[in-house]
Symmetry: C2
Subunit: 101 residues, 2 copies
């Protein structure tokens, strides 16, 4: 039951767009800003504000890289990966408890 | 991959407190306001504002009932149950895809 309380209190990953960003980064470690924006189908401004929050919380690092031209690269940090896996664990236990009931 | 996009765009259940409320109601169908508030450890005002959003979206019904004294009872609607199960399905597929990778 405390899983419900913890899920309800999840502030950083509790936001669905931030959760989507971290889920996209988790298996890839890094991705271009433009790719995340296309996959989640959100505006650049919206993605930028959520990335700033994730960076402020230490979940991602943001760098400029030269690809075809200067691009923004987003890299998941160790803390970001740990927090995302922990949240997935909580969701997994809550989800599986519903498929048993 | 479109699961990621759908999760990112989940507005009603995308909020962790509303998700916690619906997860609590799903196996019970109904619960007292005071019980939901204690389980999720949130303020009455916070719970009230999220319940109003859930009611506005047709996910719950809110009634006064006489228990020891007049109490607020929250009941999940069919739509609320369907939407919560659908969201759980999406989370389940995203979560299981991470435990396979």
């Amino acid at each position: 039951m405390n899983n419900l309380r913890e899920i309800a209190k999840t502030s950083v990953l509790g936001n669905p767009i931030r959760f989507g960003i971290m889920l996209y980064l988790l298996p890839r470690e890094r991705a271009l800003f433009i790719d995340i924006q296309r996959i989640l189908d959100i505006t650049p401004g919206n993605l930028d504000s959520h990335l700033r929050k994730l960076k402020q919380e230490g979940y991602v690092e943001i760098k400029k890289v030269l690809v075809d031209r200067p691009r923004t690269m987003v890299k998941i940090t160790e803390k970001g990966a740990i927090e995302t896996r922990n949240y997935l664990e909580k969701l997994k236990s809550v989800v599986s408890s519903y498929y048993k009931s």
